[in-house]
C-alpha cells in the first residue's frame, strides 16, 4: 500500500543522463566542427575558419569556380516556373486564327503530306513552343522555318503550340502502312542500351515517362525522324538542352536510327502529349 507520498531516494539518473548527453554533444561538436575540419586545412587554400564554415554547411561562394568558357546556350528556352505558367496560358483558338501559313506545309489538320516535313497534330505544346522559339532565336537552323517564325511574337508561339496540342494525333490510316515490329527498335524504346548511355526512348518520349519539351514520336514522318536523329548525331542540330539528345544519338548506329524512324512512323501514338 502506498500513497505515493513516501520519500523517494534521490534520483540522479536524470542529471547523469542529461549531463552525459550534453557532454557527448559538446565533444561531438568539438571533433566534428573543429578537429576534423582542421585536417582539411590547406586544400584549395582554405584556412581553419573556412573549413569550419564548410563543416557547418554555410553557403559557400566557391573560390574554385574558374572563369567559364564563353559559349552560346543550346536554347533560350528554360523550363522555369515562369515558362510553364506561360505555356499553360497558351490560347488554342488564338493559335487557330494564325495557323494558316503553317497549314501549307504541315497540313490542314497538322498532318503533313511530305515525309520530310513533320506532323504537328497532337504534339506536346512544350515541344512545339521550344522548337518555334529555337527557330526564332536561331538556335535551330532557321533556313526553312526562320521566315515563318520571325514575324511571330512569343504569345503567338505559345498559342500555336496550344492549338497543335489539341489536334487529334496521327492515327490508323495516317501512319505509315509499313508496320514495323523491329526488335532492335522495340528494345531501344523499351529498355534502351544502358551501358552505351542510351536510356529507353519511352522514358522521355512517352508512354512511360515524359521529360519537359520531349516530343511525342508515334506517327511522325519517317524521313523527318531519321534526319533529326542524324543531325543530333553529327552535331548539325544542337538545340537540345545540355546535350540530352546529342549524347544519345552519338551512340546510336545508322542502322538503329533507321529502324527507330521506321518503327515510330508506323505506330499511332507514343504518348508524348
Amino acid at each position: 500500500m502506498t500513497d505515493g507520498k513516501q520519500p523517494v531516494p534521490r534520483d540522479s539518473r536524470f542529471a547523469v543522463w542529461i549531463g552525459a548527453t550534453m557532454g557527448l554533444f559538446v565533444l561531438a561538436l568539438g571533433v566534428g566542427f573543429i578537429w576534423l575540419p582542421s585536417a582539411q586545412r590547406g586544400a584549395d587554400g582554405l584556412d581553419l575558419w573556412a573549413t569550419i564554415c564548410r563543416a557547418v554547411g554555410l553557403p559557400n561562394g566557391n573560390a574554385l569556380v574558374s572563369a567559364p568558357v564563353a559559349g552560346q546556350p543550346a536554347s533560350q528556352v528554360a523550363w522555369t516556373t515562369e515558362t510553364r505558367r506561360r505555356l499553360a496560358q497558351g490560347d488554342a483558338s488564338a493559335g487557330a486564327a494564325i495557323v494558316q501559313a503553317c497549314n501549307n506545309c504541315h497540313g490542314m489538320v497538322g498532318i503533313s503530306a511530305d515525309a520530310i516535313i513533320p506532323n504537328l497534330a497532337g504534339q506536346s505544346a512544350a515541344a512545339i513552343y521550344k522548337q518555334l522559339d529555337d527557330y526564332k532565336s536561331g538556335k535551330r537552323d532557321p533556313a526553312v522555318m526562320g521566315v515563318y517564325v520571325s514575324p511571330l511574337s512569343d504569345k503567338n508561339l505559345l498559342d500555336l503550340a496550344a492549338h497543335y496540342a489539341l489536334l487529334p494525333s496521327p492515327t490508323g490510316d495516317t501512319v505509315s502502312t509499313q508496320r514495323s515490329t523491329s526488335t532492335v527498335a522495340r528494345r531501344l524504346i523499351d529498355v534502351g542500351a544502358p551501358l552505351r548511355g542510351i536510356a529507353p526512348c519511352s522514358s522521355c518520349h512517352g508512354p512511360i515517362g515524359i521529360t519537359p519539351g520531349a516530343p511525342g514520336l508515334g506517327g511522325q514522318q519517317r524521313a523527318y525522324l531519321e534526319l533529326q536523329m542524324q543531325s543530333f548525331k553529327d552535331g548539325t542540330r544542337r538545340n537540345d538542352i545540355s546535350e540530352q539528345m546529342r549524347s544519345v544519338a552519338r551512340q546510336l548506329t545508322n542502322e538503329e536510327i533507321a529502324r527507330l524512324a521506321a518503327h515510330y512512323s508506323s505506330i499511332s501514338d507514343s504518348g508524348g502529349r
Binding site: P9, F14, W17, A55, I208
Partner: protein, 542 residues
Amino acid sequence: MQGSSRLVLAHFWAAFATFAVAIPLGAWQMLVRSPLHQWIAPELYYRAVTAHGTTFAYVFPTLIAMGFGYAVCAVSLGRPMRGLSLAWISFALVIVGAAMALATVAAGKANVLYTFYPPLLGSPYYYLGILVAVVGSWVWIGLMVWHVRRWKIDHPGLPVPLAMFATAVGALLWGWTSLGVGAEIAFLILPNALGWTPTIDPGLARVLFSWTLHAIVYFWLIPAYIAFYVLLPQAAGGRLYSDKMGRIAFLLLLIFSMPIGLHHLFVDPQIGAGFKFLHTVFTGMVVVPTLLTIFTICASLEISGRLRGGRGPFGWIAALPWDRPFVLASGFSMVMLGLGGASGIINMSYVLNSTVHNTQWVTGHFHLIYGGAVVIMYFAIAYELWPRLTGRPLAAPKLVRLQLWTWSVGMLLVTLPWHLVGVMGQPRRMAYYDFTNPALASQGVWVSVSAIGGFVLVFSAALLIGVLLASHRGPAGATSPLKFSLAVNPPRRLPKSLNSFGIWALLVLALTVANYGYPLAQFVFLNNSAVSAFPVSQNDRR
C-alpha cells in the same frame, strides 16, 4: 483478451493481408532484375517497388505495432482496454489511407518509390493516403499514452509493467518521428501536387524525410524487442534477467533513435560534414540499447538453459527448447540482428558510408535487419497471440517451425549476396542490369542467388498465412491466458527516471533542436534551392 481480441486480430489480419500481396511482388522484382529473366520495360517494376516499399514501410509494421500494442495494453495492465471505439476509428483510418495510397500506386499514378524524393511527383492521392494512415495511427499513440497515465494514477508509486512501458516508448517515438514525413507531405509535397505552390525544395524535403527515416525503423523494432523481453524468457522456461535494464534500453531507444537521421544524407550536398559527424556520434549511441538488449536476453536464456541442465560456458545454448516456435524464431532473429547490425555499423561510419551508399549493400542491410530480424519476431508474436485471440490452439507446430526455418534461410539467401553485390558497386533501384558487360558479369550469379531466395520467402509466407488461417478455423480448444515473463528480481519500486517519460521526451526535443535545428533552418535563407516539380505520371504534364 477481454474484449480486445477482435481489435487485435483485425490489425494482424490486415497486416498479413498486405504482406501476402507485397511479398510475391518483392520476389518478382528480384527475378526480373536478375540474369534469370530477360529485361522488362521498367514502368511495371517501379510500380511494384513503390507498392512493396509503401506496404512494408507505412502499412504492415504500423498495423503490427498497433495490434500488438493493444494486446499488451489489454493484458499487462490487469484490466480491460478502454476507448475501443477510438481504436477502431484509428484502424479504419489506417486502412482507408493505405487503400487510397496503394490503389493509386496500382494504377500506375505514383511511381515515386516509398521514399518519394521530390521534385519527383506522383498523384496527390498517394501522399494523402499515407498522411491519413500516419495521422490515423496517432490515435493509437494517444490511447497507449492515456492508458499508461490512467494506470499510474490508479497505482501511484508502482512500476508500470515493462511491456506497457516499452509499448508507450514505441508510441511516443512514432509520434515524434512521424512528424518529419508528415510535415514533408503536408507542407511541401501536397501543396505542390495540388498546384498550390509552384516549386518545391528537394533539399529540405530530404532533411525532413531523414527525420523520420531512422527512427521509423526503431518504431518497427520495438515490438520485436518487447517480445524479447516479455515473451521470450517465459517461452524458454526461464525468467528475464533484469527488468530494470530493459527499461534503460527502451529509454535509450527513445532518446537516441530520432536525432540521428542525417546519417542517411552522408553524401548529400546540402549538409555540412560537421552535422554529418554529429549524427554519426549519436547513431553510435543508439547501438548501446541493442548491445544491452543482447546481453540481457542472452543472460535470460542462459537461465533457462541452465535450468534445463545445460553445462559449461556454451552448453546452455543447446539445452534451450528450440522446438518451441518462439525460441526458434528468437534464435534466428538474434543471428540476423547481429549480421544486420554489423552492416548497419558500416553504414553509419562517416566516411566509410561512401563505399556503400545507394548500392545494393543498403538494400541488403535493411532487408536483413527488418525483413529478417524484426519481421520474424512479428511472426513469433502472431503465433504466440493466435491461440489467445482465436480461442483455438495453433495448427501444425511442425509447419510453424518449417516456416521459421524457410524464412530465415530464405532471408539470408536473399540478403547476404545483396551485400556482396553492393560492395561490387551495383547501384540501387534499377529494373535491369547489363550482366554481359565484363565489369558487371561477376555480379550476376549473386543476383540470381538472391532471386532464388526470394522464392523461398514466398513459400515461407504462404506457410505463414496457411498456418494462421488453419489455426483460426480449427476446432476450439483450451488455451492458456497470455502471460508476460517475470523478472529474476521483479522491481517493487522504481525511480521516476525509469518509470516516466516526461523529462526524456524533453531531452529528445532538445536533441532534435540541437541536431536538426540548423540543417532545417538553413533553408529559410538559402536561395535557389526550390525547383519545379517533375510529375512521374505521363498523364500529368506540367
